[in-house]
């Protein structure tokens, strides 16, 4: 674990009603690293990401971003969220706004950027994801893959220090998965720090600096992709990976 961790999670606990979703979870993400979270559904991946982005309040534990504790209730949560980007499985684009307006909303209203400047920046971002000519379209006119790329662009335009991805390709047709994963690869080469929850083992193998296997709200096993995916130590990890292989996704 490097000393200059961008994100540090220690002893995180989250309870929904009667079930404990996150049990005393520890995690560190170094700057410019890509950490991939794998695990069965219900293992807590989404909850972990939502807690990090302060969309949920934790029941115990600490989350630190660049050394600053963000789980402190006195911290301005909106400001923290503006420094992180999260992309969801269900795209969550704003259907009443055009693609361009979706992307310029946060810069204009949160960061106070002027309209012209924000639109210019947004168009650059759209060009980067290959969707510049769809700027005036509405989300329902785009394919799933295109919508997801717009969602990523929307988060990127805020210049976040950390990007969180919650199963962003799980809702896509197989042929569209590739274009989104390619985007994530590009982001890595640009040095973005990313925490990615995914089922795409191939991607994990190629891109991840570290793979963490979540089971029952804890990080059961962590290490380099070759270690965790190739020679898992824990029995449950092996079980999980075997199921994935059988499903043809490794």
């Amino acid at each position: 674990m490097s000393e200059s961790a961008l994100l540090r999670v220690a002893g995180l606990r989250k309870v929904y009603g009667k079930s404990v979703v996150l049990h005393d979870l520890d995690l560190e993400v170094a700057e410019h690293d890509v950490v991939v979270l794998i695990g069965a559904s219900g293992s807590g991946k989404s909850t972990l990401l939502r807690c990090i982005d302060l969309l949920e309040t934790v029941d115990d534990g600490v989350i630190e971003l660049r050394g600053e504790e963000i789980t402190d209730p006195r911290v301005d949560a909106d400001a923290v969220r503006a420094r992180m980007g999260i992309v969801f499985q269900a795209f969550n684009l704003f259907p009443h706004l055009s693609v361009l307006d979706n992307i310029t909303l946060a810069p204009r209203k949160v960061h106070g950027v002027g309209r012209e400047q924000a639109e210019q920046r947004a168009l650059e971002m759209l060009a980067r994801v290959g969707l510049r000519e769809r700027a005036s379209a509405h989300p329902d006119e785009l394919s799933g893959g295109q919508q997801q790329r717009v969602a990523i662009a929307r988060s990127l335009v805020n210049d976040p220090v950390l990007m969180l991805f919650d199963e962003v390709t799980s809702a896509l047709d197989p042929e569209l998965v590739g274009e989104v994963l390619a985007m994530l690869r590009d982001l890595k080469t640009e040095g973005m720090t990313m925490l990615v929850a995914t089922h795409e083992m191939g991607f994990a193998r190629q891109v991840a600096d570290e793979v963490c296997f979540l089971d029952d709200g804890r990080v059961l096993e962590r290490g380099s992709p070759e270690q965790v995916l190739g020679e898992p130590q824990q029995e449950r990890t092996r079980l999980f990976l075997r199921r994935i292989i059988e499903a043809g996704r490794l």
């Binding site: 999260i86 795209f91 704003f94 259907p95 009443h96 946060a106 209203k109 949160v110």
Partner: protein, 305 residues
């Protein structure tokens, strides 16, 4: 394009014409031409049968009605042209009052109703008093019959003789209408707000938007569009209840004007005239509702699965 085979319903759109636009230069085969000709024939036949049977039944109804005993007197009492022409100017003058009241109270109702709905959907324990206030208000004014509210506000309030409180029956009547209808409209807006998927809020917050910003730029635009049909429904109801303020002795509206004339002539045609005027207002409103809903109201869900 799906092709509707079962039953070969006559009158079905000839789909290959549409496909033709996507691929110009394509012409149908002889077999397809024969199918189209058959379908066209069937369509024509069913249209003719529909027209004929409508004419027969409709004509029969009208003939039966007109030749029945007492029809002349019914027509004279309710549909007397001369009385209608005489009554029209006064009833129309009264109708403008209805329209003005509707426009003014309608605008106030929309604003006040939205405010109540937002208060009601505030989250967090610190806002409990505001939520409770909103709930209490809505319960009260949805529960009171409008006519009671009108009498209480229209006659009761001036009776208190408070400083600076208006006593004009038109103003008080509008106040009573706004008080009551805001309660209904607030619930409609609330339904809209709560129907916006929480993932929309999550996405907005995750971008750094504050609570009020999320409400203003993400939630409310979607919420309001969704409830345009029931909202306009309530507004149509308001157009008709606008006339109730005449019980406060306010300006003479369409119904009151019709009542005055009827009291003198014992002919009910003025009521019919007033009714027609109301229909001329409400029916286009409902068609407008349909149009607006089709264009803006039915949004696809915000990308949630």
């Amino acid at each position: 394009m799906t092709s509707d085979r079962p039953g070969d319903v006559p009158g079905q759109v000839e789909l290959h014409d549409i496909e033709n636009q996507a691929e110009p230069g394509w012409t149908p085969s002889a077999r397809q031409r024969e199918r189209d000709a058959y379908r066209r024939g069937r369509t024509l036949r069913s249209v003719l049968i529909a027209v004929a049977s409508t004419a027969v039944v409709g004509g029969g109804l009208v003939a039966g009605l007109v030749s029945s005993p007492g029809w002349d007197r019914t027509r004279d009492t309710f549909f007397n042209w001369d009385v209608a022409v005489d009554a029209f100017p006064e009833v129309l003058a009264g109708f403008w009052i209805n329209v003005k009241i509707f426009l003014i109270s309608g605008a106030c109702v929309l604003v006040f109703g939205l405010l109540l709905a937002v208060l009601r959907t505030l989250r967090g324990p610190v806002f409990w008093p505001l939520r409770a206030l909103a709930v209490g208000y809505i319960d009260l004014f949805r529960g009171l019959p409008l006519i009671l509210t009108l009498l209480l506000v229209g006659f009761g309030v001036p009776g208190l003789r408070l400083q600076g409180v208006p006593t004009d029956p038109v103003v008080l009547g509008c106040v009573a209408l706004v008080l009551t209808y805001s309660a209904y409209v607030a619930e409609v807006f609330r339904a809209g707000i709560e129907s916006v998927h929480p993932s929309q809020r999550a996405a907005a917050r995750s971008l750094g938007l504050s609570g009020p910003q999320t409400l203003r730029y993400v939630v409310l635009p979607q919420a309001v569009r969704r409830v345009v049909p029931p909202l306009l429904n309530d507004l149509v109801a308001l157009t008709k209840d606008s006339g109730l303020i005449s019980i406060l002795g306010a300006a003479i509206d369409a119904v009151r004007a019709a009542q005055i004339i009827t009291a003198q002539t014992f002919n009910f045609t003025p009521y019919v005239v007033a009714g027609v005027l109301f229909l001329l207002l409400t029916i286009p409103l409902t068609r407008l509702t349909d149009y607006v809903s089709r264009r803006y109201g039915y949004l696809p869900a915000g990308g949630h699965l």
